[in-house]
Symmetry: C2
Amino acid sequence: MADRTRATTIADVALRAGVSQASVSRVLNGKQNVDPAIAARVHDAVSALGYTPSIAARSLVHGRNDTVAMVVPDLENPLFQGILKGLSLAAAADGYRVLVADTAEQAGEEAAIAREARHRCDAIVLCAPRMPASQLRALAPLLAPAVVVNRSLDDPAVPTVGVDYARGMRDLVEHLAALGHRRLVFLAGPDASSSQAERMRGLRDAVTALPGVSVDTLPCGSRLDDGYRSGEAVAAAVRAGTTAVIAFNDLVALGLMPRLAELGLRIPDDVSVAGFDDVPLARYATPPLTSMSVPRSELGAQVWSRLRALIAGEPSEHALLFRPRLEHRASTAPPPAARRLTGVREALPAESEVPA
Amino acid sequence: MADRTRATTIADVALRAGVSQASVSRVLNGKQNVDPAIAARVHDAVSALGYTPSIAARSLVHGRNDTVAMVVPDLENPLFQGILKGLSLAAAADGYRVLVADTAEQAGEEAAIAREARHRCDAIVLCAPRMPASQLRALAPLLAPAVVVNRSLDDPAVPTVGVDYARGMRDLVEHLAALGHRRLVFLAGPDASSSQAERMRGLRDAVTALPGVSVDTLPCGSRLDDGYRSGEAVAAAVRAGTTAVIAFNDLVALGLMPRLAELGLRIPDDVSVAGFDDVPLARYATPPLTSMSVPRSELGAQVWSRLRALIAGEPSEHALLFRPRLEHRASTAPPPAARRLTGVREALPAESEVPA
DNA sequence: CTGTTAGCGCTTTCAA
DNA sequence: TTGAAAGCGCTAACAG
């Protein structure tokens, strides 16, 4: 039975060790020079009483609680999961903990949740891809120290860490164009998402830079079933001459592929499919999915690096943008027409044979 | 520029409103009968100053901070992600936040991390599948209020919420046996994992109850690449007469399937494959993966329900065990021999045609 | 090197 | 109904 009495406090330790509370505090915090004899008695008392300092009291005195919050729109998104993982590991190494706040896609609550979370913690990581830019701009300064993920922001106090979706998209289109594709389809993500806008920008850049290449956009979404449900629309596009499809992200691509198979389309023989994010499962898909790799854990680690600096009072660093890296796998290959001319073999990446 | 001065305190509000701190506190907490006029002035002052109460100070007084911790061995595991999601949403609805502590598989640190996390929070959720039972038994009482996930424990103060892996395994074997399979292979998870032990128990139960059915165990692991790497061993087993393989979990199965395909084995024509957990991707695999469904978010919600009761001082409830539900998809079908006799069609589930 | 003494910001008796 | 005052448990000046 755990007794319901008050937990032991520093006073109990001081009493038992026959010293002042200040000395106990010093010993426990390794401050100044403390007489070894006293230190020993304190340590004895501490272990005898099983004492542990109150985090709350310490927080009150220090004005910080060694905890940072991460606000995400959806914990089920592999990207945020990866960032959370990287962040929590990096932060833990510095003695910090991470509080998660899933806003459950309630865009309206986001700002309030973020402020509340920030208020409980020393700093905050904000992932709010759908928050209107104006609202974000107003909110950001209230959140500092803070790091914003996957969005650009010109607040000098709030650095951003993110993925260069535009560049990644452009690289991806170039990859497909190099394979010989000319008519592409893009399965768009949520309209309000900032990374969706970035992707579109990359798409436009690519089309501009690549005469003869066109990209049609089909509204879709960001999840497995969104991809699955887009199967028919994609099939129709393929019948109309499209030879490759770029999914908003890997989840969409992974949902789409089996549907295309059901509809009798072979990948990549009839149509190439590419994703974005390079989730772990991408290389184990059938066929292995070509994707743009995003360093999820590394993103989290960098977020922590920025955050730690801000907490320490250092000035905000420059925005950090990771350029996605193409992971060419078997789901993208030359289009049917080109294949008849050049043959498949040279276009298939060697590693598509051995995903591990 | 945010000024570096102290944040506004209740004293500032009291001063500005021309009342005592006690009154401000009362108004803000809706205590007792407060003169409407005073309340109004307080509210004015609060909004004028943009005051928000200090969480730390409040925590010190109340002895709680409305936060619970969740300790997990690996945040990348879909099961824990799902539980975290369900927990954080349910807890948030009651005004609680969730702190995550990823022990990064460092079994040695687990207990220390858990105690530290508990110390920062009002309660804790412990996911420690590999912690030795003796250690867990010793640790659990020190963590209360706490809920242990996916492990049995006879501590009357620490309830458990989990999955009946033994039963699920047995149901899965029965499913395969009913399809006509007699020689099965099980790709085992981490030896020290408690759920692995439970699965083995279910396997033994099934074999005992089903004369003529045998299950060979192959060491494997719990992740995608573990499954992938088991491909050759599985192929060898198939050549030796095995007709179905049960993976430790879906990740293993999803890693295994493409490897089997590479090795020239067709699923389910040459060998049936089943997973466990029913991750979202299972139904979008090629072929759709038969799996035992585990209510991940519901688990999280139930964990919160238990935890909330404990925090409120209510006695610990009985252990809660969810029975996994079979999701029969196209990856499992009658074995080659049986198929020749009975034909494929009747054995294929209708829903395998339309995953969504 | 050690003890005394103020607080950190808030809640809560206890009087008035 | 309201205010004064005493802590919650700890740290940090400041003396000694």
